[in-house]
Subunit: 335 residues, 2 copies
DNA sequence: CAGTATGTTAAATGAACATTTAATTCCGCA
DNA sequence: TGCGGAATTAAATGTTCATTTAACATACTG
């Protein structure tokens, strides 16, 4: 009956709205029907009454938000029919309209986008919308190119760029809702268009040891291993600090950049919490000076020379014995 | 001990890599430890042995991918230091480098972005990276504006637009990996820059250097950075192999022990899959011979020699000025 | 006002999963 | 060869849900 049908639709819409709010509040991954029902002021069981399953609810939610967006967007195109430039402006206006461009809705979009790759139900819908959007944008750009005589401009590329920029600006709305300004976002897009199509948008719109052991000599060295490592880090830190100190924090960035790491990583070296890989060490030496190597490795190398001789002799002995055993066994040398 | 530590790191990294693959394959929402373990070829229980919880694993994964990206990006900035325009080009080159811009990695980013809003652990990391990125981009734009005399151009807006466009183009890489073309994406960004900063990125600037070659030069520089690391590993591997070969596998254990790592780790160096830390490199040199250093660092160091002279003079200058300031202030020398 | 269809809830069920625990394999060493 | 300890697995545990079911409530009908 019509009335029952209608009230059913009302509840469904109520649950879909609740789902969007719940995704915005708890995120897609930890969304439960209890959350949804809570947002709707209903009991959890009811969801399976109005939707066959949670999956269906989610699909309906995506369909709903896509429909919302699409409607607004179609209306915008209609409004901007007078000229391709007006069309693009209308589309931008729609894309940053408070109804579609707000933290809740955007977080719902991002949730579905992130899932779309692994969910055939979502993928079709999302891609369909995206394709259609691009097609229309491209046509508008093409018309502008034609009528404006922009010779070097590729309409497809301009459209792809615009679409990308809009999606990217939505990211800002998602990540820093407090700072995000819809008007400024529109201006950014218009500035892009003004730069690409100056005649149409120009003047008007402005936009991370050693264990079982070899022998006593080495064992001792390895007992000192941890300390050695710490000492190594300390030397490195000191050597770096010496070079950075006279200049202050600005140089850190430069040194980090030259070494190809973030300032945070560099600082973990300066604090002895971590040490560079050999490659990074090489870069450091290049970026600072060759003397750095002696300051950091020098003491290790010197102390080690004595142990090195002893080990070398022992190792030669070992190799010889191994060789003797092998040849007595088979006469064939091991490869 | 150190050996245990090292192999622990290897497993951790193995699990993090498996997590990224698993997110790409199953999505964040339906990611289970069984999936992760499956990708890693291990049993599910092991994850809670190496990470305290699934949450910790995910945080480590985000930290890892952020670090990866940040490293590439820092390297790009360093390469593009010559001019602000080259800086922007280098950033674009980095953003669309196959190492970071591929369906798997992008889907991991999207997964974390979508969750960031509701997960304080993710949020700080994601926003910190984004802020830093914007800051640098904006500075580059500001310098271009200043030197190019672009009167109507707002550097902040241009930077926001570029960042948005890049993020948006990643979306295309996520949604239609088959159709997505990294080169075209770069061109789209450069077309944007050309429209906004014609004197720096426009036809005139392009012909001056040869359009395609501009990207190629910087692309090559960044590729070289990634390859530089590979080359470094290759040289290390070759140098080590040369010393291990005549004796056979027994020496490996000895060398591993002397260096304070497990044979597995040593082998990962031999195969170029990993590289030692600077401390381990020092131990290696001690355990093998000092010549090793020249073989591994040599090519890099050559380049360093030239810089060495310049920096030495500069440093002496700094030291003198500092001394002057200190003695004028207190007459007491700093220790 | 009984009787029935419909909407809603609360509790029951069972599956999936993270985490823990016990058992097993693996490795270095005496 | 057997021991001790670490790495790994396999099984156990307990929790969190989606979904189902039974009960309850409300509204409509004759």
């Amino acid at each position: 009956m019509a009335k029952a049908e209608a009230s059913k639709e009302i509840r469904r819409k109520q649950l879909i709205d609740a789902t969007m709010r719940a995704i915005g509040r708890y995120g897609y991954a930890s969304l439960t029907l209890t959350h949804v029902a809570g947002e709707a002021g209903l009991s959890p069981g009811i969801v399976n009454f109005y939707f066959k399953s949670k999956d269906q609810l989610l699909i309906a939610t995506l369909e709903n938000i896509a429909e919302e967006y699409s409607t607004l967007w179609q209306a915008a195109i209609a409004k901007g029919k007078v000229s391709p430039a007006a069309g693009l402006e209308a589309m931008i206006e729609a894309d940053f309209h408070a109804f579609v461009c707000n933290p809740e809705k955007v977080s719902v979009w991002y949730a579905f986008w992130a899932e779309a790759r692994n969910n055939a139900n979502y993928q079709g819908l999302v891609m369909g919308l995206e394709d259609e959007y691009l097609k229309v944008t491209e046509q508008l750009c093409a018309r502008i190119v034609a009528e404006g005589g922009y010779e070097g401009v590729d309409a497809h590329q301009a459209a792809v760029g615009l679409n990308a920029m809009i999606d990217g600006l939505w990211f800002d709305c998602l990540m820093s809702p407090a700072k995000f300004d819809r008007q400024a976002a529109k201006r950014t897009c218009l500035a892009y268009l003004a730069a690409v199509f100056p005649a149409h948008f120009g003047a008007a719109a402005a936009t991370k040891r050693g264990k079982g052991e070899v022998d006593a000599n080495i064992a001792m060295a390895i007992d000192q291993d941890v300390q050695g490592r710490d000492a190594h880090r300390a030397r490195l830190a000191a050597a770096l600090r010496k070079r950075l100190e006279p200049v202050g924090p600005m140089r850190r960035e430069a040194l980090a950049a030259a070494t190809g790491v973030s300032v945070k990583v560099l600082e973990s070296w300066l604090e002895g919490r971590a040490e560079p890989t050999s490659w990074q060490m090489g870069r450091l030496i290049v970026a600072v000076d060759a003397q750095l190597w002696m300051e950091v490795y020098g003491p290790v190398h010197e102390e080690a020379q004595r142990l090195f001789e002893a080990r070398l002799a022992q190792q030669r002995d070992f190799a010889e014995r191994e060789q003797a055993v092998l040849s007595s066994l088979s006469g064939k040398p091991k490869d």
